[in-house]
């Protein structure tokens, strides 16, 4: 096998447009700037989203957020709030939002093919009236991210159809993955027992809040 001498070739935006064509008027028209009742209903039933942010230099980050359906609160037709739950305390999203307020969200509902997309600008808040709506298991988050909505729309279901994401048979893929204990033992390269690491991972998952 020979090594490729260069990176895969780069295509200019003009060339991209020439290859894929123009979006149909219908596709443009579906992008709204307000959260109507259908968008709101989707958010109220969504237990999971991925949030993209970027720092001042444009270096991007994407992180998952999940909780009970409706964990993201609609404050009004232009504003959402996401609770900050305990995680790895790296706080990339917070740091990024301080430098660059751009934020993109993809909401999923298990079983629904379409994805709800929200783009806008975000900032961090500790407003009590917002946090009180996010209490779970007798705790409330210390902080929340407010997203001011610029664009909101349903993304068509092809990606989820092609990926068979909600097909129960797709869960068999998980069996092909080694446990996180095995992976961590190999990646850390230390002489640690994968079984112990796996037990530690499981233990940390028992406390979700």
């Amino acid at each position: 096998m020979t090594h490729a001498p260069t990176r895969p070739r780069r295509v200019s935006p003009e060339e991209v447009r020439a290859r894929i064509g123009q979006p149909e008027a219908m596709v443009r028209a579906k992008v709204k700037d307000r959260i109507d009742n259908y968008f709101r209903q989707f958010i109220a039933h969504s237990p999971f989203l991925a949030m993209a942010t970027a720092d001042a230099a444009g270096r991007a980050d994407c992180s998952p957020r999940g909780d009970y359906p409706g964990f993201v609160k609609v404050l009004d037709e232009r504003t959402l709030a996401l609770p900050d739950r305990p995680g790895n305390k790296i706080a990339d999203s917070f740091r990024n939002l301080a430098e660059n307020d751009g934020v993109g969200l993809c909401f999923l509902i298990p079983g629904v093919r379409e994805v709800l997309r929200v783009n806008g600008s975000g900032y961090v808040t500790d407003e009590p009236d917002v946090l009180v709506r996010m209490r779970t298991e007798a705790r409330k988050p210390e902080l929340a991210i407010v997203v001011e909505v610029a664009e909101v729309y349903f993304h068509c279901g092809r990606a989820l159809l092609r990926s068979r994401l909600w097909d129960p048979a797709s869960r068999a893929l998980a069996e092909e993955m080694p446990s996180m204990g095995e992976i961590a033992a190999a990646q850390f390269g230390a002489d640690v027992d994968p079984g112990l690491l796996e037990a530690a991972v499981e233990d940390s998952y028992r406390k979700l809040y």
């Binding site: 009742n37 209903q41 109220a44 359906p69 009180v132 709506r133 007798a138 028992r206």
Partner: protein, 302 residues
């Protein structure tokens, strides 16, 4: 859990809807005035509501839900997204607010606190006993069932629109209280506090939707022994007994997590619980969402 179907959603005040929940099959569990149930909503939240319909109707329950702008997602879901035809699991009724026999009654309701008192007033008047209802709310359009009550019970019902008339004078009501009268009060914290101050403790029965603000000693660690499995669960100072049990593989049902609903009730076989709830449950029971231990060890019937 009993399966019901949402049959009707009726707007009964500006910010209140009443749900009629029809049994999916057979009869629903019986109940008495003062009882409440847990609704398991489609968004995985469990919420408690007082039964406000007719206990004689064994095929349907009725509850009323006020929209709370600071909702965690329960009342908002019911108001915005619940639709007739949806199946809704409902717990068997529990009653922490039972009607005790008395020669006469005074009922005090504040806003949505009217719900448990509706079947009480109906039962008491059906038994031919004298009863008065003082029902306070900001304005008539925000007071569910006000018209129905006036129609059905006439001058036994006094509607107080606090926006125009101010709060009802509980001290005057207490001064005029006839011998043997029992007072049943359900409403916002301010009304319950006023009732506590105005009426003798032995006469007043109150139901709370929110915990009373109180202070307790510092949280300390203790052990919970699950008698049936023999498991010993360490409860750290910064974790509730309910959470510690769940993390150790002994999940209990839970609702309010504030010591008012009673969903997480568990029997105590040994040890001394520190009751921090507002339920005043039966002897030998505790509510581990808020209650802890005075002894280093509790033995639970789990």
């Amino acid at each position: 859990m009993q399966q019901t179907v949402v049959e009707h959603i009726d707007r009964v005040a500006e910010d209140v809807v009443a749900l009629t929940l029809r049994a999916a099959a057979g009869e629903l569990a019986p109940w008495e005035p003062g009882a409440h149930v847990d609704l398991s909503l489609p968004n995985w939240l469990t919420r408690q509501y007082s039964l406000c319909g007719d206990p004689a109707d064994r095929h349907a329950y009725r509850v009323a839900v006020r929209y709370d702008p600071l909702s965690r997602g329960g009342s908002e879901y019911v108001h915005r997204f619940l639709r007739p035809g949806r199946t809704l699991p409902v717990s068997p009724p529990r009653n922490h607010f039972p009607l005790v026999a008395a020669p006469r009654y005074l009922f005090l309701a504040g806003g949505i606190g009217i719900t448990p008192l509706l079947p009480m007033l109906r039962a008491v008047t059906a038994a031919g006993l004298p009863a008065t209802l003082v029902y306070a709310g900001p304005s008539a359009d925000r007071m569910p069932f006000a018209d129905e009550l006036r129609r059905r019970h006439g001058d036994r019902v006094r509607i107080v629109e606090t926006g125009r008339q101010g709060r009802p004078d509980l001290a005057a009501l207490a001064a005029g209280l006839e011998a043997g009268t029992l007072v049943y009060c359900c409403g916002p914290a301010a009304m319950l506090a006023a009732a506590d101050a105005a009426f003798p403790a032995g006469r007043l029965h109150a139901e709370r939707f929110q915990p009373v603000a109180r202070t307790f000693g510092p949280d300390t660690a203790f052990e919970a022994v699950c008698a049936r499995s023999g498991d010993t669960v360490a409860v750290p100072a910064d974790e509730s007994l309910l959470d510690a049990l769940a993390h150790a593989g002994h999940p209990l049902p839970s609702g309010c997590r504030e010591g008012v609903c009673g969903s997480c009730e568990v029997a105590v076989l040994d040890g001394v619980p520190e009751h921090r709830d507002d339920i005043s449950g039966p002897e030998g029971r505790m509510y581990p969402c808020v209650s802890r231990a005075l002894s280093p060890r509790l033995v639970l019937d789990l």
